[in-house]
Amino acid sequence: MELQWPLILFTTLLAWSAGLFATQCIYALRGVGARAQMPAWITSAVLLVVGGIAVFMHLEHWERIFNGFGHITSGITQELIAIVVLAVVAVIYLVYLRKNEGAAPKWIAWAGIVVSVVLLVVMAHSYMMPARPAWDSIFQIISIVGAACVMGPATMAFLCSVVAKLGQADPFENTLVVAGSAVNVLASVIYVAVMSIAGASYASMGSYFDPTHPTYPMVDTTALSPFSDGMVATAVAVIAAIVALAGAFVGKKKGDWSVWGVVVTICGLVSALALRILFYQMGGSVFIYF
C-alpha cells in the first residue's frame, strides 16, 4: 500500500519519545543523571507533541474526532487512552523533578517505564490486522519497542554528555545504549524475516485480470517481499541499525556520547523510519487483487 507518512512519523516519533521518557525513568531509578532529567523531559514532550501533530495530518476530518470518538475496540481509541495516561504520568514526574531538583521517586519512575512500554505496545498493536499478513505479527510490536530501545538511551546519553555536561559516561549508561542498540538490530532483523514469510498468506488467484483497469498492471504478490527489487528500505533499516550498534560500541569505548550519542540516535531514527516505510510497502491485504 502507499506510504502513510503522517503515521510513519507518528509511530517513529512516539517510539523516540516513549523510549526517552522510559530511559530517564531508568536513570531516576539508578539515581544518576539528575541534571539531564529536565532537558530529557522537555525533549520527550516535544517529540510527543510533534508526533501528535503528524498523526492529525493523517485524519481527513480531525474536527469530528469527538463525534462519537471512543469506540473501545478501536486501536486508535486505545492509543489515545494510552497517550493520555502517559501524559498524566509525565506531568506528575515533572512536578517531582521540579520539587526535588532532578530526582523523582521510584514509584513514579516505575510508572513511567510501564506506561511507556504499554503505549508502544498498544500503538503497534493497533496495526495488527488479520487482513494484512505482514503486519499481523508480535514481532511488529517488538520492532517498535526496539526503535525506542535505541533512540531513548542514545538521546539520554547525549543529553547527559552535552546539555548536562556530566563528564565521563557512567558504565551503566554505556551498557544501556549498547544493549538498546543490540535489541533494535535483533528486533529489526527478525521483523524483516517475518515480513518475508508473510507472502505465503496471500490468496492465490493464478492468472487474473482487472477488466475495469485494462491498462494498469495487476498486483504481483511475488514482488511483495522485503528482498525484492526496489526494497531499498530493507537495506537501510538493517544497515542503519547495525551502524547504530557499532556507534554504541565506539561511544562506550570512548566513554563520550557528545558525538556518538548523536550518531546512534540518528542511525536509530533512520532505521526506524526505513522499517516503517517497509512496513507500508509490505502492507498488502490477503486478497490483494484490487
Partner: protein, 204 residues
C-alpha cells in the same frame, strides 16, 4: 437475526460489468472508486492445460458485509457499524477519515472519497433494500448471476431481477460448490457458486 448478502452464480456471470456500472450510477460512486469490481480469473483447468481448456470465470468483489467485520472493530468513532439487517454501513457524519477500516478490510473494497474526506463502500443499496427492493447490481445483472437475500435462510430462496428465485432459476449446485472469499476471522457473508471449475483465492 438477518444477514442480507449477495450470492453470485459465477457460472452465469458473463463479465459484462453491468453490476459495476449500475452501482456507480445509482450510488454516485466517484471516478476511480469501485464499490463493486470484477476480476477475470483465467487458469488452466484441472488435469490439462491445452488451450482453450481453461477455467475462465468472473469474480465480482464488493463489501462482503461480514458477520464479524474487522472494519467495524477498528473504527474509532463507530462510523462503521452493522445494522440489524446484517449489512455494514458507514455513517459519514461520524467518519474522521483515518482509513483504518480500509486497512483492516481483507478485500480492498473500501475507498476514500477524497472530495468528502470519508471512507465509502458498497451499502448493499440500503436505500433500496430497506424498501423491499433489490440492490441495483442485482436488478441490473444481465446474466441473472446475482441474487439477493438473507443468509440465515436457504440461498435457493434468494431473489433475482425478474422475481425468480435462485433455486428455481439457476442450475443445481451442491454445498461444496458454494464458496466464500478468504476468511481471516471476519466471516464474509457473500457467497459464490462455481461448478466444474477450480475455485481460486480461498486457499488460506
Amino acid at each position: 437475526m438477518t444477514q442480507y448478502a449477495i450470492v453470485t452464480d459465477v457460472n452465469r456471470c458473463v463479465g459484462c460489468l453491468a453490476c459495476s456500472v449500475a452501482c456507480k450510477v445509482v450510488n454516485n460512486v466517484p471516478v476511480g472508486s469501485f464499490w463493486n469490481k470484477t476480476l477475470r480469473v483465467t487458469n488452466p483447468s484441472e488435469g490439462g492445460s491445452n488451450w482453450p481448456d481453461v477455467d475462465n470465470y468472473y469474480l465480482t468483489v464488493s463489501c462482503q458485509h461480514c458477520e464479524n467485520p474487522e472494519c467495524v472493530k477498528v473504527c474509532p468513532t463507530g462510523a462503521s457499524h452493522k445494522l440489524p439487517d446484517g449489512t455494514v454501513q458507514v455513517d459519514k457524519s461520524k467518519c474522521i477519515g483515518c482509513q483504518f477500516c480500509a486497512m483492516s478490510c481483507p478485500y480492498g473494497v473500501r475507498y476514500l472519497n477524497e472530495a468528502e474526506g470519508v471512507v465509502e463502500k458498497c451499502t448493499l443499496c440500503e436505500q433500496k433494500i430497506a424498501q423491499g427492493e433489490l440492490p441495483q447490481c442485482v436488478t441490473q445483472c444481465g446474466g441473472m448471476a446475482r441474487w439477493f437475500g438473507d443468509m440465515e435462510g436457504d440461498i435457493r430462496d434468494f431473489k433475482g431481477a425478474r422475481g425468480e428465485t435462485l433455486g428455481n432459476y439457476c442450475e443445481e449446485f451442491t454445498d461444496d460448490q458454494v464458496y466464500r472469499l478468504p476468511d481471516v476471522g471476519n466471516g464474509p457473508a457473500g457467497a459464490f457458486i462455481l461448478r466444474r471449475m477450480t475455485w481460486r483465492g480461498g486457499d488460506l
